[in-house]
Amino acid sequence: MFYPLQRHVAYYHKALLYLLCLLGLAGCATFSEDGGFNEVQKTTQRYIKQTPVWANSNEVKQKSAEQVKALLSPPLNIENVVQIALLNNAQLQADFYSLQLAEADLVQAGRLPNPSFSMLYAKHRGDYTIEQSITMNVMALFTMGKATAIEKKRFEATQNNMVLYVLSMARQTRNAYINALAAKQAVDYLQQVNESAEATYQLAKRMHEGGNWNKLEVGREQGFYMESALALSHAENACIQAEEALTALLGLKHPADFKLPARMMDLPDAEDNLKTVNRADFSKRLDLEQTRLQVEALAKRLGLSKTTRLIDVLEIGPASVLEGRRGDPVKKGLELRFELPLFDWGTAKVKRAEAMYMQRLHQANNQAILAASEVRAQYSQYMTSFNIAQRYRDEVVPLRKSMLQESLLQYNSMLMSPFALMVAAREQVAAVNDYIEALRVFWLAESDLEMALVGSPLDSEGSVL
């Protein structure tokens, strides 16, 4: 399918002109100084106090290391653990490079495609064909502006996702810290219980040795001691596991690199001091914002496909064709290649794009429904766990304390045996431990609620990671 030569030549000249113009412009798309990270930092701070740092130079690396060291010297707190992770978590540092990758794509989109040279040599019974062509995706020149815009959207999405990674890391670290604290306090509690159980068993043994008690009575106390010793082993193991998880998130080499405080954070005094959630918070969800960007980008692509420009691979370039015998002159002309058939192919592409768009739209809808539900559920979890912890703090623990006090009074008047007194003492300690567990659940709920207001990181297809 060849056009008349004259028209081809006219086209050729125009295209060359256009090409030269674009070559002049090619220098415009370059790498930014911060790699887009400032925007990530800025957005992150809409949600948390801590700042992520991308240690992409020795200078920054050095500074980060010093900061981490300073943060590790006092016992950890929930603010500092997040800051340490944002400075030092290895996965996060790796993730930051996807920003650079995305920016590279963006810059690439703003540059001229590389020309390609091809040559065909064919010989048949003295007839031969030699084709030499330098081809270049000239269409890319026309679409460069649009491609850059799309890559820019992708880059923004990556930035957004990066914020989500950072916030998700903050949450994981907070949660790991809360878990480690609770696990440590559980060990403290079980050590106390175990010590008293051991003493009780020793007393029972003396009772048996003195002839006061039979083996059955001693066995009962021994059994309790065994149980408490085993429970302590379990708790110690759980504590090591929790500390290791925190160590990894903080990017540290060893749990000995940090010190945990003695106690879990106190419960807020009253319900009035709790977080509230409103519509504005919900609309701040980053994953929804990102979906919006993705849908917009897709719509744009869909629009382009309707004008059949971006979807096709249309190459146009200067070609010299030698055809016929060796002495025949080289034919000059344009080589145009289309995938066939154009319109059928185009229609299928459009349909596909529409399907993709509609699918993405429904996915986005589902995502919004899930997000709303998640926020409600997390808010309920947060409030309920507050109420439970508050009940432990204001009712259960004081009750067990007063019951122990009453038990002591009864023991004082020899109404209650020392063994029963120790049971009451253990119940009181258990109530305190239950309170710590309730506190753990509350703080996790708060952390999860914060994340529910931010959203979860998405993959490039828009699925929740």
Partner: protein, 463 residues
Amino acid sequence: MMNRRKFLQFAAAGVALSAVDKTLLAGIPEPVMMGNADTQPLLMPNTGRPYQPVATLNGWSLPWRMNKNVKEFHLVAEPVKREIAPGMVANLWGYNGQSPGPTIEVVEGDQVRIFVTNKLPEKTSVHWHGQRLPNGMDGVSGLTQAAIEPGKTYVYEFEARRAGTFMYHPHADEMLQMAMGMMGSWITHPKNMNMHKVDRDYVFLLNAYDIEPGSYLPKTNTMLNFNLWTFNSRAFPGTSPIVAKQGEKVRVRVGNLTMTNHPIHIHGHEFEVTGTDGGWVPKTARWPEVTTDIAVGQMRAIEFVADELGDWAFHCHKSHHTMNAMGHDFPNMLGVSQQGIAKAFSKLVPDYMPMGKTGMSEMSDMAEMMDMPLPENTLPMMAGKGQFGPVEMGGMFTTLKVRKDMAKNDYTDPGHYAFPKGTVAYALDNSEGLPIEHQAAPTAGEKPITEFNVRKPHKMSHD
């Protein structure tokens, strides 16, 4: 004494009385109330036939009014607060402000009319235990009369036919009402004042309550495991003493309305049982005793001459009944050292004190030395302070105090007995040279310890 103010309060707030018809009300004697758990002075009769009144241990006798020839009493059945001993108050049910109710004293042949007003939340009745009376006055609800509904006043009227010691108590929801303390004594004095004449005549009831340490209300469904054993709803050291002048003839009438028997024991004297609920014991049928067992629902009147000066114990001989609330689950820890263990315990319970290694006295010692706190409204298991130290008693325990000079109608506590020099058991002074040492019995394969025998004199000298 009789608390008129209390009565006024009662009359002003008395829902029960206001519910009673005004014309009927005019015919009812004013109820007399009592706000005190001590032994009250004798109620000397100023109307009706003369008699020698009784002293109710930790109680009082109910005044009456003569209406023509009828002695009229007014009993008000109501919730009361009874001090069991200083430091403990029980929420009981009783009559006229106290539990047990007042003693009713009449004379053989008296025509008696008793108004009973029910201020309890449930119906009641009064059974006159041991009396000869018309069947319809016997007070068994349903069987011999309709029960007295709350707010109602019933009238019992009969002749006190037989002289003796009786009791009164409800016969409607009897188990609960008696476990709540509803009971009282009744004395019918002989017409002939010289019959069975004594110088001092005491009466009281035996009662038992199950009140959880730290609480106030008896557990009325308890059948055997009571933790408070009382003389007239009073536990030692809250019990008043029985006092007598040396040489006086003393009668003590004890009625048992608990659910177990009580061997009542006296120190320093012998007595004879001279009467039961059934009447006087013929002289030929009496024998000397120092303890008499009083079965459930029985009354025993014992008599003796208080000829031995001093402070003599008088108590139920069941040793658990001379203890206040105690823990039956407290293990016997005799000989068990808590060294090293107490320290671990006190980590969880900072105020923990090891007790029981040498015995239960440790508790009273500890309580005294350390001011060790006990549950609220709970009497120490053993208490009472004598002139030589802790008495370590509780419950059904009091003292018979015999003195050289006690005024005829003086029933007040004369205080500690002044022991004549050289009449009190004394500690041996070891420094005088008598070695008090236990020689361990040789065990198999061991040589007998012989050092004791070869101890050199210089070892005993003071350095």
